[in-house]
Subunit: 206 residues, 3 copies
């Protein structure tokens, strides 16, 4: 299996997971069924779209290929029909969401590096790919983005990108191993912070 095939499969998995979190978040706000599908799709494809706008890669990847949109919609429909079961599965969902964050972080970093961008751009694009969809989701739900608040989330994405970068540049480490490392660091930091209820200190207001 080539690296591209692996990235492709992981990309679709990340899209499915983020679509499910988007659908569950939309249901909480009692949107109508169509609104749930729209919000799930925006959550799943939004991070990659923001990244590709900044990378000047319009039209977006999901215009020419059906499977991205179909994956997001099928995952959202699954969430609609299995809402109760999914909420009982909350812990697996946190796991999948962490996986999605890790995958999207390294996919964003990988695309930035393939285009020859320097270090700060790699970090920005990795994080925007990872957290952009969730930011759009929460703004459209009328909430302050979860990813900017109490829990370690955006910082888990940054940690993964920081681990990925030197590994990707190291001559001896294959690209797929660097991606595995970056995604693993993000997932690990995110899950540890959930398990031990860790958070960065909130800032005292006035």
């Amino acid at each position: 299996m080539s690296l591209d095939t692996v990235i492709y499969a992981l990309d679709l998995a990340g899209i499915a997971v983020f679509a499910i979190t988007g659908a569950l978040a939309a249901m909480e706000k009692k949107l109508d069924i169509f609104g749930v599908l729209v919000l799930a799709t925006i959550t799943a494809l939004g991070g990659g779209t923001i990244r590709d706008i900044l990378m000047d890669k319009m039209p977006p990847f999901y215009f020419e290929r059906w499977e991205y949109l179909v994956t997001a919609l099928c995952a959202a429909l699954l969430a609609l029909f299995m809402q109760r079961a999914l909420l009982r599965l909350w812990k697996p969902i946190i796991l999948f969401d962490a996986l999605g964050l890790g995958l999207f972080t390294v996919i964003g970093a990988e695309k930035a590096l393939q285009s020859g961008y320097p270090f700060p751009a790699v970090l920005i694009l990795a994080m925007l790919t990872g957290i952009g969809g969730g930011m759009l989701r929460d703004v459209l739900r009328g909430e302050i983005p979860f990813v900017l608040k109490k829990e370690i989330y955006a910082s888990a994405s940054l940690a993964g990108a920081l681990a990925f970068y030197p590994a990707w540049n190291a001559p001896r480490i294959p690209e797929s191993a660097a991606m595995l490392l970056g995604a693993g660091v993000t997932v690990f930091v995110r899950l540890i912070s959930v398990k031990y209820k860790l958070g960065l200190p909130a800032v005292r207001g006035e």
Copy 2:
């Protein structure tokens, strides 16, 4: 009158109508006069801007030609000075808003097809053109986008795009007839849903 002239006239009409709904929505939130003009303009031009960003057609169409911006501002000023009369006209406004939704939906689909995009991209661009401005309007007002909530709105846009697509591809049907059909379906679905208070089922939250 050529097809392009018709599209151009309908485009300006859609911009005027959406600017009025944006201005009325801004007045509800007691923005200052300048804020009303800005929000009305964003509502009127936002959907087309999102579409053109995704279609890689920057700078936007309203940079080179004055009439789009002038139309939006004049409609917003009209709304400012005739607020009371317009609210008495609420039913005509729902009609005009439905017309705007129908027009923008087929204009978005038409531009996508002219650029050779495949079916899913046509649907996405048709809907984003139709509902994008309203989504920006509501986010900037601090509200969950109306188009994602109780009423049939985004789904009316989708219905119009779904009717337009096969008609546009049919060899015997002229383009203008296909556009009329698509816009008509959107307007019909939207107005029927308002008249009979139809909505898609809202989703039960946790």
Copy 3:
């Protein structure tokens, strides 16, 4: 010192000031430390990013050059560690924020004119550069954008752009003088409105 050097220095100063206002606004909402840094960065770089998306100048200027991002982050860290002192300095901050608004307004107008855009596009780009970052900041904080509400803010930006445009086109006036004039008008209008608590009339809701 060449005109470009002046623009460059003023751009960095504007970024620093807007990052500080973004960080203070984020702290009010009790975001975590990382969220404060992200929101400050989006506030500082958001206006220029929106302008450059519409001008088809992706990837953004801060991808290739570190100093923009570093300036935003250092200013945000300063705000984090000196929150109390900064709030005591509220009046200087209003001054700096007005300076940032003036600088970003003329930088946006200057870039639009250098690209040969016509008058309405110059006004749109000047205002979006000036107020875009603040709009993103407030939407991400779950607030209706400050710039659209009671105080003279977006209109101060417009006033500066309206003063800058004829001066830039006048054969006898050097570019740097035109920029000084435009920024000066914005700062003056903004500060006068704060000092005398002026605002555009709010619009009566239904």
